[in-house]
């Protein structure tokens, strides 16, 4: 395995916006984080905070009218003989041949929307065989065996038969598993999984998470796991990034973020989870207020209109920055940092 300190992916101050007729949606607004080989980075945050757009940005497939407006995405690629080199994905064209050879091969994506990423007119088997042969030197026979193996690995019964199925013939969960098999078929070094087990029941989820973990142990694959399920994050992640309105508000090792969360947003998130041990039918604590209008971001700390600990005059005037509060633990909140002298 490679030196732990050299991330396979570094995202620095990424800003991706959608330029719609009504205004600019700053979907990702200055996100920074790193993903390491052999590790899992969990990304959590409220719906619409920019998790999927972050993933799309990394792969260079942000749909119009969106585009990356600032920041760097660096991928460490192997150049053979044990050397590696950082490539700035942000400076490659989205449809350049280099980007195409990275997408699906070195970086694979499991989409949040299985129906839109599987072709409805091709069988599951042909899609996997096609993808595998596009990026790896395999005969048709080998690719077909790989497809069956992958489909049974992700827990699809009757895998020999399932390769002949079309996506609409599969249940939501089976489709999701087929998609995971498709992503794994290219043996990626970085797997970006956007809500990969959301459509699955717990026992299958346990199986898939187990599979991802063992693949990671075997080949040191890095995983960027996007999910709203705090249970899955607790189970899988080494590092956690909490996003709010396009920004990273807290980041750290999983035990720290769950055990000693510092940001008021992270704390509220953890409180709002129903647990099998909590009292049923009571209203769950939610985060007060609504998600701000995407065209109209609040000034100062983006969380201030909903924050239980807001300090008027401070949080609504100044923007906190992600700063260290402990070992590898970063938080963006004035409860922990001095307020800057000049307003921003």
């Amino acid at each position: 395995m490679q030196d732990d300190r050299q991330p396979i992916l570094s995202v620095r101050n990424l800003k991706t916006s959608f330029f719609t007729d009504e205004g600019i949606v700053r979907a990702v607004d200055g996100a920074s984080f790193e993903v390491h080989l052999g590790q899992t980075l969990g990304i959590v945050g409220e719906s619409g905070c920019g998790k999927s757009v972050t993933a799309l940005s990394i792969l260079g497939i942000v749909p119009r009218p969106g585009r990356i407006v600032e920041g760097e995405i660096l991928l460490r690629r192997e150049t053979g003989n044990g050397q590696s080199q950082e490539v700035a994905l942000t400076s490659l064209g989205d449809s350049s041949s280099e980007m195409r050879s990275i997408r699906g091969a070195e970086i694979a994506l499991v989409f949040q929307e299985p129906m839109t990423s599987l072709s409805p007119v091709h069988t599951i088997g042909n899609q996997i065989i096609g993808a595998a042969r596009l990026h790896r030197k395999l005969t048709k026979q080998e690719a077909s065996e790989l497809a069956v193996e992958l489909l049974s690995l992700v827990g699809i019964p009757r895998a020999e038969g399932a390769i002949d199925a079309y996506p609409f013939q599969l249940s939501g969960g089976l489709r999701q598993r087929a998609l995971i098999a498709l992503a794994l078929s290219c043996d990626p070094r970085l797997l970006i999984a956007d809500e990969p087990t959301t459509a699955l029941d717990v026992t299958t989820q346990a199986q898939i998470l187990d599979l991802l973990r063992s693949l990671q142990e075997q080949n040191g694959m890095a995983i960027m796991l996007i999910t709203h399920d705090m249970g899955v994050i607790a189970e899988m992640a080494d590092q956690v990034v909490v996003m709010y309105l396009g920004r990273v508000v807290e980041e750290g090792p999983v035990d720290t973020v769950f055990g000693e969360s510092k940001h008021p947003y992270t704390q509220s998130l953890l409180r709002s989870i129903p647990s099998i041990h909590s009292t049923p039918k009571v209203q769950l604590p939610t985060i007060t207020g609504t998600i701000p209008h995407p065209y109209n971001r609040p000034a100062g700390c983006p969380f201030h209109p909903r924050c239980p600990d807001v300090m008027p005059g401070v949080c609504d005037h100044h923007e906190p920055e992600l700063q260290s509060v402990g070992d590898e633990h970063l938080v963006s909140c004035f409860l922990y940092h001095p307020v800057p002298e000049t307003s921003s």
Binding site: M230, F258, Q267
Partner: protein, 347 residues
């Protein structure tokens, strides 16, 4: 059981899909997606259906709202407080007046919304179809519904693609609520939502239920959510119901080995509790070619010879608690109370 409080009663419901092969697409077998299920839902309650991926939950839900034609069985539904009607075999025309009383919220907020329709059209469509011709009146109702599910009224003329997953699911819920139905069949309504919005939607569903006397048939795989919102639960395995009980009862003392495994597999939001789950061994059962006897036997750690040979039937072992397992009386299974209580960081 013919009880005034029963809103929905499902008897022997089956749905088989043909497996087609070859150039002529001849049927060479069938997938027993739903293979004879019975349950009833009381007015005003939330009845949960849980079970493994592909066990037939969505198929059952779609049969009940008659988006699919059942292969066999009865679906008795009390529309608008009247008599129970078997809707399993009604024609399109006969169904039309009943449809507004049962609405569905879908699992996949992406494919269930027409990308070429604005929110106003999507949510207003059922109003229009059901005779609310006045545009201004529809606008007001749609705005009201948007507010109800936490979306901004300005979004009225927006198309669904510009919304994130969570926002799109709210749109689906607003649409389902448009006609004030009595039964909402919700297929994984919160599984695509992040936790804080999930909490809001669950609170919303609970509040709406209280205010409007709604009844929910709630399909979900997240057992924490089921525990939070459901009064009673049915656990399905490969097209059949293996256990039904009041929620508390089911979680505290499950009586089917599959339920026990399910409960142990719930990921806890606490990294210190990693890997305390039972990972089910063995092949996932194939509904096209199910195992002999008890469908769960290849994966059951309590299986005995009898289990391979005979199919157990769903039987009431205590009032309101029915189980389909040969060994139900001997086994002492672990519920969630036996699990360590997680220390949530901030409670």
């Amino acid at each position: 059981m013919e009880n005034d409080n029963v809103l929905l009663e499902v008897k022997g419901l089956r749905k088989y899909f043909p497996i087609r092969k070859g150039f002529l697409q001849r049927a060479v077998g069938q997938v027993r997606a739903v293979d004879g299920i019975d349950f009833h839902v009381y007015k005003g309650e939330t009845f949960g259906i849980v079970g493994e991926s592909g066990c037939g939950k969505t198929t059952a839900a779609r049969c009940i709202v008659r988006a699919l034609q059942p292969s066999a069985g009865e679906i008795h539904f009390r529309a608008g407080g009247g008599e129970m009607t078997d809707v399993a075999n009604l024609s399109r025309d006969e169904l039309r007046p009943l449809r507004r009383h049962m609405q569905m919220i879908f699992q996949d907020p992406f494919s269930s919304l027409n990308p070429r329709m604005t929110l106003f059209d999507i949510i207003g469509e059922p109003l229009l179809v059901n005779g609310m011709a006045d545009r201004q009146q529809r606008i007001e109702r749609v705005e009201e519904l948007l507010a109800l599910v936490g979306l901004r009224p300005e979004f009225l003329q927006r198309f669904p693609h510009a919304f994130s997953g969570g926002q799109r699911q709210r749109i689906g819920i607003a649409r389902a609520l448009a006609l004030n139905p009595s039964l909402i069949v919700a297929d994984e309504p919160v599984s695509a939502l992040d936790v804080s919005v999930q909490a809001q939607i669950l609170n919303l569903l609970l509040a709406l239920q209280e205010r409007l006397g709604l009844t929910y048939l709630f399909v979900a795989h997240d057992l924490s959510v089921v525990k939070h919102i459901c009064d009673r639960v049915a656990v399905m395995y490969v097209g059949r119901v293996v256990e039904t009980a009041e929620t508390q009862q089911l979680f505290e003392s499950p009586k089917h080995p599959y339920t026990e495994a399910l409960l142990s597999a719930v990921p806890q939001p606490d990294p210190t509790l990693r890997s305390q789950r039972i990972i089910l061994e063995g092949e996932v059962a194939d509904p096209a070619n199910p195992p002999s006897g008890c469908y769960f036997h290849p994966r059951c750690r309590y299986a005995v010879d009898l289990c391979r040979e005979q199919t157990p039937v769903l039987e009431e072992v205590e009032p309101g608690h029915a189980v389909s397992c040969h060994r139900v009386l001997e086994l002492d299974l672990a519920g969630t109370l036996d699990a360590p209580v997680p220390q949530t960081a901030h409670s």
